[in-house]
Symmetry: D2
């Protein structure tokens, strides 16, 4: 439903890059989830611009929880988080008004909204809005934590440099949690950063692939048609600006495999039903099978680059050139990691709430006891 | 919403592989769309098993439109299409009851539905249900045809063999429309078919990648957060059994590009605004930009294979082996093409109806006249 | 969403009065609910035309459950029930084509669907479709029965004649369950029937008020804004043809009371929290409070009457007269009772599923044990 | 969907009576609607407490539009309006913590949210939240104004005193627009006010009936099953605290009429199709017929009264007494008028957007020109 996602647990997003505030309303969240400013700050910190490889826009991300949290716990009623915009410099955007930036939403927004769109800094289409998603996601992650569901996200590939593969999921999730830059291998991290800096110097940009793992999702979550776990997660992921691909488990690679090697055989091991491989990324027939849920998301190179580009002027409908001088990220793939993780957490809360009801942490925990 | 997809135009799916009937209810479709049995038959024919490379199950796919079409036109009220199941052989399935087929939904369905699921032939999770999607999609395609939106789908890759790239979209769509096997290049078609037959002989299976192009979608369709064109199409695609990846435009490949080559520069050409490249697959900021919408879908190898596999018995919760003797497809990627196309058509109708209202063909056409 | 109602448990309706079939798809119903043909037949019998006081159209209401029930239990996947239309006499309707029946949907449907509507017998707007609602409701009632929620409905008033008030709810629900005509007081029943017969003789029609009581709904169901128990029940009720009013508890009467008498004081009695009065109909702040949920629904007199009426011809847009000769009910208020009850049961299942999850009977029962 | 209402145009509500702020997010509103602070202030002024007959709580209702409006016009992206809470006095509420107020949501909220609810001043259940609805409604009314749809609302009855009937709708809507107290007849207004003051002196409260008329809704809006105009409006109305009944046209009264007098005969008059009477309140078969839409809403007496009442203590689960000393309204029926009107306007925008698309004002106006 337009700017709202989710069935039982939903998030509504509002705001523009250069408006007064951005924010999100989380509805349907279970009551009694412990919420602290620190946990939201920590999540926002991971999304914040990083030194040389990011925009010089200072986003303090001072947020305010204006509703839905009382005495440090979620109440069960809508949680509204507002993040005021600061350090906004309109001058750059005003100058290029009329010249649409290639591969941005300037042109499509102009046609969609008949010219009434707030065009400053991408308006509602700005990556800035993902800060509100990250704040909302921090609360969702806290809810998942109650039932021991853990999420980790790393930059699997950036500027053509690959991180090492995820190994011991639990340890890697902890490692990623402690890191400022979401890459497991230090060598890969250094190479990625230097590739991003190089792109920046050349007034160009690079992209990457983000990979997420989710542990301990109970078996039986999701719906066959049309709300498979994949459908709901992909729906969320493809709403993140710059995402152009989503794959689960072996993903596109599985299409080259034979059935005999692609199939994940079941076995009983240690008293639990597991699969020997996990090419299906923890999902069979759209339903979670209890194995780790694994998915990857392709992030395109930031469309805002310093190089002069051909484009049109929508006021005159003539060909022209554009040189973008704003403060932009030469790469957003690393900053997309906490956003992907936040939306994964929100979607998981929704899926669990659909199956187990509003108070899913309590229902799941009471079921575990039996 | 579980087995219903869509906001303004929706499809609700029902049925099980070995139940009485499967079917779909299409709601919100514009009134006045011409519907004939022939057009649905033609669509179903493309999905039907093909000679040696398919299951030997005879699916006559005799369908009945039980509501919503009057005097050959859609009425605007719900269209229910029922397809009775025939040639159903339960004996095979009864035998393996308890032994869950690897990478199928047998295990997850059992846990999700507490053992009450109709397990015969995959029940509600069967690819059989996609016949109802294809029938519904035929009506959606007729509605799109009214506003000159054309869709074509080919098997871009199968068993490691690649089809030639889409070239002249209009001609290729016509070519694909005329073909029984959705591959543009005859040499590739022959190689794919022989690879599928080889897999069949080896009691194994193969997968593939399906590519779809949609022409003439007006600019300005879709929503930034959280109902981007990509989100809505991917949501639909990931509900198709066996889909493990979805990508738009250059897809995962875009993450390796530099911004300067990934960006699609705008230009005015022939009085129209176009982009010089189409790495974004016709979508900027989640909104259609008027260029062809391009996306690819990864299909895993059919999980049902003749080879003996390890698995568990859910009745005893012990390790065991399974040998699947049912009539199965060694490849479903080619049969997925009409399903992908049908869901793309349904999703497009929904997107257009969200923007232009229930009677989108009339609204768009009256706008064109001005 | 148009012809679908419900969030977690939904019903999609299809069909036209004189088309091939009508039917409903129930989605999201908990697995493991026992379903028998008898219980659906029994429910449909209550809706069937009654002797002299009803239409002479013979509705056999032979139904078929084509999906979602396996070995006598719900599977958890969509349940489609199809009811073929029989004894259809189009000749009457064809004759008056163009002349719109006052207070029917002929005129509004014609404008809404641009003339493509199936006008025969009211098409999709026909009361005939409520048979599918009643069949779906029978399954919903079975699910509620698992958690001891009981529903009873009587014709509180008809043609100005009042039934006695509901007394001992449990006994009255049982009494109503056993009755063919849903009136508690035999004298009132006789008077109502003779008033209906009189109206019939005078080629006129009468209306009534239907009252429903629901017992044992757990406290805490419903949402403050905008999905209160009242909102969700009223939404369902106002979709029934001929309903023009809905009220809860003391209803419109409460607006004349003083707060001191309208307020339902709480007390602990017999170890349970109850209210001394129930002017709020079991709902405080949109949330169930554990007391019986009580609501009434106003049914207008059947708009189809034999008397000649003024109207217009939509083909010529001129004033004209209409004399309706079809087989019609002089009163539908008594036949509305099972429809109101069915939709109440469906809405309750949805409300419970929103709070307790898909498998609400199991979750509630396991909670009771603790 | 919990705290969100609407399909194509939606409103999400957040906040608690004594939290930091309340507010609403309006999504899907057409771009290009002129929005001024004055029009929102004017709407809020009508809801504000009135002299002796209202609470002494000072609600300044200073609001801030934090997104979705740019250069004085709606952008088409989500409009978030935040209203900070001021003049909040917690002391009273803290004292009665544990003692649940009869006919309030204290008890149901406590059970629904497992004790995590913000109980201060009714929390999320407070009538305070309707200020955000009124602010959102002001924008919806501006959108309707573009297509000449006018809404008027009066207090038809209060404390047993009846206002005069609506006469010339256009004039009465203008009259009501100019009035601070929404009653047409000055004598009735005086009597109502004195009845309210009397109730206040007696530490009691009174209720009323609110009536709304909507002019110039195009014919053909609404859906037969399950989204009739009545269903969608009633759904909205029953989410307003204190509403216990909703009726359309002749409402409950129609159930006592004969079909021959209840039916609204069509006629062509002045080149337009109209009905001679309007007992159906402008709606046939759930679809607007072009006549004025008329509905009434029953408002219960304010449950907060000064008189000592019996109740329970939820901490000890024992019987006790409660004396409510907070600043409360002896009547909220007059303050409900702008809330009813706001939700009617929001629902109408949604209905029009469902039929005519996002940019319904433009589509309707361009259709009118033809």
């Amino acid at each position: 439903m337009k700017n709202t996602i989710g069935n039982s647990v939903s998030v509504t997003l509002f705001g523009e890059s250069h408006g007064k505030s951005i924010g999100a309303v989380i509805d349907g969240m279970a009551p009694g989830i412990k919420v602290s400013d620190e946990m939201i700050e920590k999540a926002l910190l991971k999304r914040r611009p990083k030194g040389n490889i990011s925009t010089s826009r200072k986003e303090k991300d001072k947020f305010e929880i204006v509703s839905g949290v009382f005495n440090g716990y979620t109440t069960g009623t809508p949680i509204c988080i507002v993040i005021p915009n600061e350090d906004v410099d309109d001058s750059v955007y005003e100058k290029m008004n009329g010249k649409v930036r290639p591969s941005h939403a300037d042109y499509t927004a102009h046609l969609k909204y008949n010219g009434f769109e707030d065009y400053r800094g991408g308006g509602h289409f700005s990556g800035r809005l993902t800060a509100a998603i990250v704040a909302a996601g921090a609360i969702a992650k806290a809810a998942l934590d109650e039932v021991n569901i853990k999420i980790g996200t790393h930059l699997k590939k950036c500027a053509g440099v690959s991180d090492r593969q995820l190994g011991d999921y639990t340890k890697d999730i902890e490692l990623l949690d402690s890191k400022d830059f979401p890459v497991l291998c230090e060598k890969a991290e250094a190479e990625m950063k230097s590739a991003v800096e190089k792109a920046k110097q050349e007034q160009d940009s690079v992209g990457g692939v983000v990979e997420t793992v989710i542990l301990n999702v109970p078996c039986g979550v999701g719906e066959p048609f049309f709300d498979s776990v994949e459908s709901q997660l992909a729906h969320a992921m493809f709403s993140i600006p710059a995402v152009k691909g989503v794959e689960f488990g072996a993903g596109f690679g599985i299409s080259d495999m034979l059935g005999s090697s692609a199939n994940d055989e079941f076995e009983v091991a240690g008293g639990k039903v597991v699969t020997k491989t996990n090419n299906n990324g923890g999902i069979n027939g759209g339903i979670s099978n209890g194995m780790p849920i694994l998915f990857s998301v392709a992030i395109k190179p930031t469309p805002s680059i310093g190089k002069t580009q051909n484009t049109i002027d929508i006021k005159t409908c003539e060909n022209t050139e554009i040189t973008i001088n704003g403060r932009h990220d030469p790469c957003i793939a690393h900053r997309a990691c906490p956003v992907v993780e936040a939306l994964a957490a929100i979607t998981l809360c929704d899926l669990l709430s659909q199956k187990y009801g509003t108070d899913f942490p309590r229902t799941i925990k009471s079921g575990d006891k039996k």
